[in-house]
Structures are given as C-alpha cells and as structure tokens.
Amino acid sequence: MRMESLFSKERLVYWPTEFSDVMRQLTSTGEDGRSTGLPAMYRFNAGAFVLAAAVGVMNNRRREVGPNRKEISTEVFVNERLGAYIFLIPMLGESEPNVDQLRPGNEEVALRAFERYAAGGLEILRAELMANPTQSADYVVEQLITRGRERTKLGEDIPRLI
C-alpha cells in the first residue's frame, strides 16, 4: 500500500547543532556516526526528534532553532510513521486547539512550531542526561516520564512502566 504523504511537498525540519550530543546519545552513535555498542532508543534522529518535541510541548518549552542547525526531511518522519506527530504536537501546544491548524495553508506554521518544541525538549533532555552521566539514555527518559506523571497528579490510571 502506498504511504500517502501528509505534506504538500517534501519539507525540512531543523534542529540546533548544539544538541548533536543529545541526538547521538538517544541513537547511541559516536562522533563518527557508528554505533557505540550501547542499547539505542532510536535508529534515526527522527524518532529522537519526536521524543524531544513531546517533552517540549508537555513542559511548555519552546526555543528558536538558530542559524547553526541540522535538518531532517519530512519524508523520514513519514517513512518512520511519525509524520502525524508534526501536526499533533503543535495542536497540543495551543490553549484552544483547532482542526483548522491542519489546513495545508498552515503547514509551515505547524512545522516551525514542531521545531521550536523539539528544540525546547532537547534542552530539557540535555540537562537530564548531563545530570545523570552514568545512566543510560533510556533510563533517564524513563525517569523523566515518571516524574512528569507524578507532577501532573493525574487521577486517571496512567500505565506504569515497571
């Protein structure tokens, strides 16, 4: 079955180069692009990007990408079945989400908002990883989610990881 693209054309999503080390930790790759041998949460940066954007939007943290940046094609997100997150996350960041945000005319707005949340999330993730240098990335992320759950004091039965 042909995978339909959610985008009017192939676009690029940008992230700040200064968070390269965070991306590498989440994908367990070294400076040379090779695997470090540690368990990797994600095969591609797109997966790590979505996590960062989710962390950013749930912590209401946005920041500009800046001029020193790297790019990921929207096609990578689509191939990894993550394309819909690019629309979901900006909507979740609005106080009054509106499906009109999904109109093609607002595509650029959605992409930029997604980027900003991801950049904000990468900041948070970097701080967490630096605060726990001896722990694996998946453990640190797990702890982050657990603390986030406790902070929101949700009444619903959020499934526990362990």
Binding site: L88, L92, L102, R103, D138, R149, L161, I162
Partner: protein, 675 residues
Amino acid sequence: MRLLSIELSDFRGFYGVHQIALAAEDDKRVTIFHGENGAGKTNLLNAVHWCITGSFTPRFQEAKSLVNREAVHENRRSCYVEIVFRDEPQNGGREYRVRRTGANEVTKPAEVFEIDGGNSRPIANADALLAKFLPKGLVSWFFFDAEAIGTLELSGSPSFKTDLRRTLGFDLVDKLLSDLDRLLSKRHKEIAAQVKDKKLQDIVTRIENIDLVLPDQEAKLELAQHTFSQLNAELESTLQRLQSLPSAEPLQRERRDVELSKKRLQQAVANTNSKVAQLIGRAAPELLLRSAATSLEDQIQEREDRGKLPAPYSDQLIKDIETDGVCICGREVEPGSDEMHRLHGLLHLSSTPALNQRIRSLRYLIRTIEEGSSQFPENIAAMRAELVTLNNQIGELEQRDEALTAALKEIDDNEVQRLEAERSRLMLERDAVNGKATLLRRQIEENRRDRKELETLRAGIELKQQISSKLKTEADKVMRLRDFIARSLADQERQALLILSVELNLVLEKYLTKHYKAKIDPTNYAVLLVDHNDKTVGHSTGEGQVLKFAFIATVVALAARKTRHKIQWMAEPTIAPLILDAPFSALDPEYQGSVARNLATQSTQLILMLSSAAWGERVAEALDGQIGKRYLIVSHESGPQGEKPVKTLQINDATYTLNHYDALRNESTIKEAHL
C-alpha cells in the same frame, strides 16, 4: 640504492682487508654468500648494517667487540667497513662511498663521499644522506636477520603498523598533516588575538589542548586493544594446556562450558537491553502525550457530534458553484457578485481532501497512542522479568564457575596450579586492560565531540567578527590543503593495503600447496592467513612462514613501486637492496624454492647468506640465471681437526671446502666461487 662493493678491514671475524664486488645489474642482481653456522654470515650482514646505520641487528651478539681479536693482538685497535653504492638511474645514478670506522665500544660517524669521475667529494651531512636512501625505521625490512623470522609479528601490534606505514611513506604525510594542524592552530590564535575576543581565544586554546592530548590517547587505546588481544590469546593457550592435563581435564572442560554458556547469556542480556531501550523509545512520546491527546480527541469528537466536523460542505462544492454559476438552491451566482464573495469567504471553513486526510491520520495516531501506551508497560515489564531470569542464570553459572575453580585449586599437581595461577593473572590483567580501553574510548569520544563543538563555535564567532581578510584567507588555505592531504592519505592507505593484499595472495596462490589466503585488517594492519573456510591459520606453520617471507618481499616491492598494481605515491619510494641472513633455515623445504624466487623477483637487488643445508636443488633452480656473484665464507681454526667435521659444498661440478683446521689464525675469509 644498489650496493656495488664492500670492503672490510679487521671487522669482527674478518682479519685484514676483504674486498667484495656485488651483483647489481637488473638481470643479474643476486649475490650469494655460502657459509656454515658461525662462519661469519651474520657478521657480514651486520657489517653492512653498521656501516649504513651505525647500529646492529637485534640478535647480534657482543656488539661492542668490533675489532678482530687477532688484529687487536697485533696492536691494531680500529676497524672499518666501506661500501660503494649507486643511486637509481631515475634519480641520477650517482655513486657514493660510505666508510664507517670503529674501535671496540666506539663507533665513529660515517663519512660519505660522492664519486664523480674518479674524484671523491665529501658530503657534509652524511647521516642525513644515508637516511634519505634508507630511513632508519625501514632498515629492519631491508637488512633482515631471517632466523628471526619466527619473531616477525604480523599480528597488528602498534609498532608493526607504525613500521609499515613508515615503509610506505605514510609517516611523512602524517608529519605534514601534524605540521599543518599546528600552522592552522597558529592562524586561529592570531585571528583570536586580532579581534581581541576572549571567548574566541579561550575556544582556540581549548582546541589546542585537545589536539595535544588526543593523539596520545588514541595511541594508548590502540596499544591497549592490541594488549587485550594478546592477553586473550595467551589465556586461550593457557586454558588449552590446562585442559590437556589429565588431572584437570574434566573440571576445566566443564568450566569452559560454563564460561561459554555465560557468554551466550550475557549476549542475550545485551539483546534484551537493546529491545528495552527501543520499547522505551517508542513508548515515551505516547506516554507523555496520552492525556493531552485523549483530550484533543474528545474535542474533535465533540465537533463531529455537532456536525461541524467534517465541514458540511467541501471546497469542491464551492468551486463547482463558481464554475456553473448556480448555487445548490438554484439561484444564479454571478462572478464578482456579493454572493460569490460570500461563498469565497466560506472556503477557509470548507472540508478539503488534504484536511480530511490529516484529521484521519491524527485520530489514528491518537488511537495508537492510547492503545500503545497501555500495552507497552506490560511488554517492558515482561522484558525486565526476562532480564531478571537471565541475570539469575548468569549468577548461577558464576557460582558454578567459582566452585569449579576452587576444585581445580585443590588438585595436587604443580603444573595445574601453575596454570591456574597463570589463568588468574591473565584474566585480571585482561580485565584491567579492558577497563583502561573503555575509559580511553570514552575520553576520546568526549574529546572528539568537544572539539567538533568548539570548532563550530569558533567558526561561528569568526564569522561574526571583523577579521582581516589576509588572516582569514591564510587560515582557509591551510585548512583546505590539510583536508585535501588527509583525504589523499586515506585513499592511498586504502589502495596500498589493497595492493599488499592482492600481491600477497598472488604469491600464496602461486607457491603454496594449500588454498590459503592472506587478509589484512585495515585498522591495525594485522596480516591473517585463512583457509578456505575462512578459519585463521597460525603464523608458526610452514605456510605462515611463507607468508612472512612473502610479506617482507611485497613490502619491499611496494616501497620501491615494483608491484604490478600502481598507486600515486605522495612520498618518495625507498629502493634498497634486500639482504637476508640465513633465510631458509626456518622454512619448510618444499617452500624454499618458491620463497627464493619470490624474493629475487620482488627486490631490486638481493644478497642472500645461506648455509649448505639451505642450498639445494630447489633454491638453485629458483635463482638460476639471476646470480651475478657467488662467494664462500670460509672459517679457519688454528687448532687441530681432531674429530671435528670438514664441511663441503657442491655447486654445479665443483666441491668447495667451507672450513679449515690448523690455520695460521682463527678467522673468516671470503673467497669468490665460480658461477
């Protein structure tokens, strides 16, 4: 470089003056010296070695006693070796004479003269000229004590890789790159000083510090990795010896099985940890977003329930009305009319295929998030339970391992206890080296990452600053040159290793009776011999010895650009004679002929020193037609023969005596034999 003649005076076993002319033409480039053990072959090799370099081969004994003992008794306290050699025709073909004089425990600097039309012109910097012809680091490849072939290490030790890279000229390029890095660093410092930016200066200093530390760390890591491999090999050997002892065999066999099972379980733990990480990676966004996504879904559903979603009309309807000029109620709608304007105003609220697709995708994602976030914890819990089970099993195996080790320690057998102690020591050392390597890897990774980030920051700051265009241009030029040379070096290395591998395999295919292949590891240059099942064959086998000789010959040929396949070299080739002392005593007889043929083919000039045992039909046939000069090194004993044998050598139809008794003095003489 071709050696034309050697003159020895009172050097070691050679009393008085001995003059030897060497075969130096392309078609007759082999000189053979026949002599029995102790006759003076190694002395002759070292005469050449010492004259050119001022030093001796590693196995040379009593290196401080240079002057012939009989000469010393006659009050002659010094000796000399003089060599006349010629540069290659493509370099001008000039002739030189090098003389080195020495006394016991004293070696004087060499004197070098250029010979021009019968006149000798002294060369000012003799050592530099000699090093140009034969760099010190390469001497051991060209002047080879072949009885030491067994100790030639092809296993990829750091020193082996360094030596080989030096032979191929890569160390010169490394030096050039290092110099360019320093120059670049200097330029960046000048830029930082010019713009008076403290942050930039700090960044440049930090980059410089990393550049100072990183090469040393990388060298230490390479050494640690090599040491780890060696310790593993030693441990394996120790365990095999232990298993061969009857008193220890059953326990060691069981312990080996336990260790293998433990390794398999540890691999299973690693695989499961990977799966856990991937599961958490997939689950994390879903768990984070679930609550908000569910709320969004409720809003979308509410809109749908109110009939607002999808919009009650599509954009196609409005376009059709515009085209037809008639509304669905039947009323005419003129272009430009108020009605048309109002209709256009409703377009932004209409339903479109793209919008509907995205809404569908979003709702699908939200459902996936809801389902996934409830399933994943269960899956991860199951995996964690699996990890607990695996770790418990590993724990049990470790206990069994300890019990077996304790039982082995109880065995009343000195050899068993010695091997057990060796095993413990090797395991401790190996784990320590492994720990050190892990730490170094982390440090190197951090340094490389920091350097990259600092470089990015530096470039960013420099971009913003008003830097003199001259400084910037210079820095850019150096950087581009450096990058170009680094890329070229990487290409050359790849090609050289490929050619080395191809050439080696051509030799092995031609000369070996078994289907073995050579493989070279590009990371550490280790040369492996593998069989048709890709299983490694030891270097101490007959075939392994052939590999070593073939390797020496191929390296020499590669350095002299004599190989079949050519690459564009960045450094000058090293063309020097290959001098081998007693090369075939370590070799299986069936391979002696092929090795001899290969050595003669690959070198520009070959000087072989052979005992009578090594000179047989095969070697004679292999070198037939290429021998330009043949000599005998004859030993003379002043004492009576008694029961001692007289050694002779048959060459063609002539019989030569290689040792004499009742001589005037103890000495070695060199006599030319007919071809």
